[in-house]
């Protein structure tokens, strides 16, 4: 119920904001003219899919990002300038995202862009931002965004990428659970990238791929794929899909009794997906960038959670929510470190940033601006839960290390 209300308020807010922008363009333009480099708020464009299959994640991204802005403003901002977040709905559609991004740059004159969810949308935002030389910090997993052909000087990638996530999960699972591996993957960039990450990680432990099944994104029923997988009795089934696809496929794999012989593994195991999937997720292992129980061992996670709880009625942030927070904070810390909002100076400052915002140390690799950070391996549970949000056990952490990333030359970056 809470999310529904917040979302409505959010939509009303952005509707009111755009109405104001329509009603008083001259006023707004003069305000921006003043605010361009001196005074006026620092504007951060935030396109995310408020409506669509990833709406739950996107709304959490907004809530956490607003927390980062609020903290920045409460601490006095930058040279007396506050920050503000301009949230736009990209509807999980690359075309819509490009239009909204262009508007944010041309009409709203944003200083920075943070946001995106889903690989195709994030690439679309990046294209527009790169052409116009605006810093964009992506908070969605993508491998392509770090490759030289899509990367630009102003491109940053706050999220993990599929190579890191699937790699970490593979390195954890294959030696323990067995070598006969089946894949059920969503047939688009994200699914393929996750699968590639698993296969590369599996080379070390000599995995044998017994089935490689690709399903269309957003399939409503996976039962037809399952008898075949069950007949093969694989040791591990990697479900390389996301959001609702993941919820439904795990639910149905459980229903078909696959857990008897097979360990179910999801590269990205989302907090929101586990909440929506309930106890069908029991025992599923996966990777994540953040889980709130990290607060037991990491002080910055505790501080972040406490802020979030205080602001949102005791709710805890989700993994993608945390990325919204970190994405905005990275940019704002970059501004502080650079002592300027100028793109070149902020890029240099972000490249040099050594931060611990919410999950331990992280920094951007120079060649591709990928955030080097830890990957958590978690297992879903439905028993011994201390609170309804206590849904994962943290099995392990793969610390921040450039060895787990694809090399700069492999991505096409010249040394």
């Amino acid at each position: 119920m809470g999310t529904g209300f917040d979302r409505r308020r959010l939509l009303q807010g952005s509707a009111a904001a755009s109405a104001l922008a329509l009603a008083a363009p001259a006023l707004l333009r003069s305000a921006i003219a003043q605010g361009g480099s001196t005074g006026g708020p620092i504007r951060i464009g935030f396109p995310v899919p408020l409506t669509g299959a990833f709406g739950a994640e996107a709304n959490d991204q907004v809530r956490a990002a607003q927390l980062a802005v609020k903290a920045f403003n409460e601490a006095g901002g930058f040279q007396g300038r506050t920050a503000e977040l301009l949230v736009r709905d990209d509807k999980l559609n690359p075309g819509e995202a490009a239009t909204r991004t262009l508007e944010l740059i041309e009409k709203d004159k944003v200083n920075f862009l943070v946001g995106g969810l889903s690989a195709a949308v994030t690439l679309s935002i990046n294209n527009v931002a790169r052409e116009r030389g605006v810093i964009y910090n992506s908070i969605s997993q993508s491998d392509a965004i770090n490759e030289a052909k899509d990367f630009g000087r102003t491109t940053f990638h706050e999220a993990l990428n599929p190579h890191m996530t699937a790699g970490a999960v593979g390195r954890y699972v294959f030696p323990k659970s067995g070598k006969r591996v089946a894949f059920l993957s969503a047939d688009y960039a994200y699914g393929h990238e996750m699968m590639r990450g698993f296969k590369r990680a599996g080379e070390a432990s000599g995995i044998e791929v017994v089935a490689d099944i690709r399903h269309p994104i957003g399939a409503s029923d996976y039962s037809a794929f399952l008898p075949r997988i069950a007949a093969l009795k694989p040791d591990v089934l990697c479900l390389c899909n996301f959001g609702r696809d993941q919820v439904v496929s795990i639910q149905q794999a459980t229903e078909f009794g696959l857990k008897r012989n097979t360990k179910l593994v999801a590269p990205v195991l989302l907090f929101t997906a586990r909440k929506a999937g309930g106890d069908a997720f029991d025992g599923v292992i996966g990777g994540t960038s953040y889980y709130w129980r990290l607060e037991d061992s990491v002080p910055s996670a505790k501080a972040f959670n406490d802020r979030f709880r205080a602001a949102y009625n005791g709710a805890v942030p989700s993994d993608y929510g945390a990325l919204g927070y970190a994405g905005v904070r990275s940019v704002l810390e970059g501004v502080k470190a650079a002592g300027s909002v100028e793109t070149d100076k902020v890029v240099a400052a972000m490249e040099a940033l050594k931060a611990d915002f919410y999950k331990g140390p992280q920094s951007f690799r120079k060649c591709d601006h990928q955030s080097v950070q830890s990957v958590l391996i978690v297992e879903a549970k439905s028993k011994d839960m201390k609170t309804p949000d206590d849904v994962f056990t943290i099995l392990g952490t793969e610390g921040p290390d450039e060895r787990f990333l694809r090399g700069c030359d492999e991505l096409g970056h010249k040394a």
């Binding site: 119920m1 809470g2 999310t3 529904g4 209300f5 979302r7 409505r8 299959a53 709406g55 739950a56 709304n59 047939d187 099944i213 690709r214 399903h215 269309p216 957003g218 399939a219 409503s220 029923d221 039962s223 037809a224 794929f225 399952l226 008898p227 075949r228 069950a230 007949a231 609702r244 919820v247 439904v248 639910q251 149905q252 229903e255 078909f256 009794g257 929101t272 909440k275 929506a276 999937g277 309930g278 106890d279 069908a280």
Partner: protein, 299 residues
């Protein structure tokens, strides 16, 4: 595992895949029948059918949370959607009769948006987790391998509903009026039967069937505000393949679509979504009215 293989697949697996297809088809049948019934009788293309399916699931799951009885949900969900259907027909759809096929289509299309958005506001975006009731959980050995108990139940239940519906339409006086109304509403009116009451009842019945399909599908996929969207597309394929307005056609087509999905996913998994539309195109090429379709008749 049997030694016999067809096309490289063991016979056991093919048989299991067939049962999976039939179980899938059971849901398609239930969704398709309601849509077909409403269209067959009053030429209304109910674009809100998927939304009724979704709201039915929400009502059922919500009630299950309160009462702990899945069986009660199975009664309450269609009942609630039937009542909602009554209201929708009476207040929204009825004024549009006689204004062609487009106006009710646009109306129900808009209505589906309102329903989805209302559920989003009331229940949030994440969806509710929902599994099969304890007594229907787990898988049983059906001789060719393990198969989820719930899906077996689904096949049986759909069969019973279709049977009851057939008896109702073919063997009761009310059913006779429905069939007559579908063929010639004017004559029925001349005979002193208020056709608007029949339409009201049939619209509600169609919506109730959508709600029933929704709560039946809930344990398979969980409950989300968007769950009705793919269902609507599938229901239309079933209705078109079977023949708009034909009940037997909807049953036949639902099963065929389910089996086509299951078999395609065995040989070319990435083509499953396309396969059902290819099937529709193929059927329309050979039989433009669908498999069992006749103009304006419930056959």
């Amino acid at each position: 595992m049997s030694a016999i293989t067809i096309g490289g697949f063991p016979l056991d697996l093919l048989a299991l895949q067939l049962v999976t297809g039939i179980a899938l088809g059971a849901i398609y049948v239930l969704v398709g029948i309601g849509l077909s019934l409403i269209f067959g009788l009053m030429n209304v293309v109910n674009f809100a059918h998927g939304a009724f399916f979704m709201v039915g699931a929400y009502v059922g799951v919500f009630l299950y949370g309160y009462t702990g009885s899945f069986w009660l949900s199975l009664v309450a969900a269609p009942l609630a959607m039937g009542l909602l259907g009554l209201a929708v027909e009476r207040v929204l759809v009825r004024p549009l009769y006689g204004r062609g096929i487009d106006d009710p289509l646009l109306l129900t299309f808009g209505l589906s948006y309102v329903m989805v958005e209302s559920v989003r506001i009331a229940f949030g975006l994440t969806g509710l987790p929902f599994g099969a009731p304890p007594e229907l959980r787990g898988a049983v050995d059906i001789g060719i391998g393990y198969f989820p108990l719930y899906r077996l139940f689904l096949i049986g239940f759909a069969l019973a509903v279709v049977g009851a519906l057939w008896l109702f339409i073919e063997r009761t006086p009310f059913g006779l009026v429905i069939r007559a109304g579908a063929r010639d509403p004017q004559i029925v009116q001349v005979l002193g039967i208020e056709i608007t009451k029949i339409w009201l009842a049939v619209f509600a019945l169609g919506c109730a069937l959508a709600g029933l399909a929704g709560i039946l599908a809930a344990p398979l996929q969980g409950v989300t505000p968007e769950m009705g969207i793919p269902v609507l597309a599938e229901a239309f394929v079933v209705t078109v393949v079977g023949g708009m307005g034909s009940l037997a056609g909807a049953v036949l087509a639902g099963l065929i679509v389910g089996i086509v999905v299951a078999m395609t996913s065995l040989v070319a998994p990435d083509m499953t979504k396309m396969a059902i539309f290819a099937l529709m195109a193929l059927v329309l090429l050979v039989r433009p009215r669908g498999l069992l379709g006749r103009a304006g008749a419930l056959g």
